[in-house]
Symmetry: C2
Subunit: 331 residues, 2 copies
């Protein structure tokens, strides 16, 4: 079961296998719509495409780690996956994406309208599920996470190509994009299990730091990843004029001439052949890829430290390994 050859999220899926079956059944039941056949078409396209179910696993893991024996964690895990899926549907409209998880996106297969409205539907279904748990604390956490997610997305829209965007704004965007749902996922698992305030806080800290490490790693891999492993082409973010941490750090140290380069390529989007190479050379000059890697590792360390405030449990070990795995991709 804890075969060292398997990846941590696969071991987590093993340990939580029964819970995950229940979550998948609930997702299938709740994403149906008696009246609007377009809804299951769109959702099953997306949910059927798989994905690692990382977020719902975090909720299940947190609840189990805190000794939960009830059934509400299944509803909360499905809630978290619905929120995630709703966000993906709206993101694909906003990004005008054509591919997601190696398949055409819903907005391409159907239309933007369906993606917007089915996203709204999934969000309202998640809302119904969380109300069923009867926990106002859980509702409060998920309401706040939803606001952070939406605010971060709007912020990204306006700040992504603005050279004034600094590391603080970047962290906030990253919280909205990834960490807010990670931390809500772990936190509600602890709340539903009746964990102590300190443990609930530790679960929040773990999810938050893991999410930030995860997103920084993702942004770093965009510049130094191997397309065969990551499925992304090097420099996609540069071509899409998205300011991420490696560039933000390079902009902060830029000479006037270098700043003009970033101004032209990112702020104005007037890119030409050789610009990506020049951008990589500037990141190399200031060591921003290494500094970004160090930041990711710092957040991973913070995540692992938070685990120390939680009960000793086999799942805690897997969460520790999962954290290492997120940044191990960077070496």
């Amino acid at each position: 079961m804890s075969n060292q050859a398997t990846k941590p999220h696969e071991r987590l899926a093993d340990v939580l296998a029964d819970d995950l079956v229940a979550v998948n059944d609930l997702i299938t039941a709740r994403m149906a719509s008696e009246h609007a056949p377009r809804i299951p078409q769109v959702t099953s396209h997306l949910v059927g495409a798989g994905g690692k179910r990382l977020r719902p696993m975090l909720t299940l893991a947190a609840a189990r780690l805190c000794g939960y024996e009830g059934a509400h964690h299944i509803k909360l895990a499905a809630t978290v996956e619905f929120i995630h899926t709703a966000t993906l549907l709206h993101d694909d409209v906003v990004d005008e994406s054509g591919q997601r998880r190696g398949r055409p996106t819903a907005n391409l297969l159907w239309d933007n309208k369906s993606s917007v409205l089915v996203g709204d539907y999934l969000f309202s279904r998640s809302f119904q599920l969380m109300v069923e748990t009867g926990s106002l604390r859980v509702l409060d956490i998920l309401a706040n996470a939803s606001a952070t997610i939406a605010e971060g997305e709007v912020l990204q829209l306006t700040a992504a190509s603005d050279l004034a965007t600094d590391e603080a704004v970047y962290t906030q965007i990253v919280r909205g994009k990834t960490a807010a749902l990670f931390s809500a996922a772990t936190q509600v698992g602890g709340v539903i299990a009746g964990a102590s305030e300190d443990q609930v806080q530790a679960l929040y800290d773990y999810g938050d730091a893991l999410g930030i490490a995860f997103q920084i790693a993702d942004d770093l891999l965009d510049y130094q990843g191997d397309a065969a492993t990551t499925g992304k082409n090097v420099g996609d973010d540069f071509r899409e004029r998205k300011l991420t941490l490696p560039v933000i750090k390079a902009v902060a140290m830029a000479s006037p001439e270098e700043r003009a380069f970033w101004e032209r390529t990112i702020a104005k989007g007037r890119q030409q052949d050789g610009d990506l190479e020049q951008a990589l050379a500037l990141m190399d000059k200031y060591g921003t890829l290494d500094a970004t890697r160090a930041d990711a590792i710092g957040w991973a360390d913070k995540a692992k430290a938070s685990l120390g405030r939680l009960p000793d449990h086999p799942i805690r070990t897997i969460l520790h390994n999962l954290t290492d795995y997120v940044v191990a991709r960077l070496n």
Copy 2:
């Protein structure tokens, strides 16, 4: 104060004047965003454009009618307005609208991305507000209303130009589009006031029937309204191939030849000069405009009957007059 020359919703605004000031202040405070300036830009454009604040007034009216003396009805009224505004933002993206309340829509002034994401933000803000009331019953009602709204919107997307759409499907679309938020608005007002189950049910029935009457009236005015009064051109729904009640009734009675006409103009959308006149002639032939008016009046009567199960109160009289006003436009 109850000057007979004023319209019922204006009298309601008079009676609820202090509450409405508090609602507007709360809306302004909560739609702000410290971090993402795009959010208040978009929302103040929309909220600043006015609108009659009908939905929040229904919540305030229901709470006051049931003797409420607390402050949560202000939060719930703002919640309802945020949900409404979020829906409008997403609707304008879905309908590719260029105008709303006589001004350019947000999707035209900024972009579809902003409309989608700011809509999500307002929805999450509404979610935070309702959690603050601490009432699980209120959360349950609003979660179910959100699901009905989203499902109705998706249903409209697929059913609007499908000749198989019958009156039952139409009613469901109308509930999603209008009545679900009306009935949730009145119902939560009663719940927060601690009204009896029968009164809460009466408030639901009132909001539901008023909302359906309101939407049927709107759909009817599209075919027989005066552009100067309604601000719409006769036949907009026909040109946009939206099956509404007057056409659904005509399709149900159509000869094979007439059915081919509806097939061509609505299902296939191949319209030519004279088609609107032909459509109006068919509605006249079967008296579907009169039948639609009778349906709207029937729902208005149902709404007024529901008021009989509520406490005798000056606000109850205004809600009665408001119901008459909704269908009086049809004569």
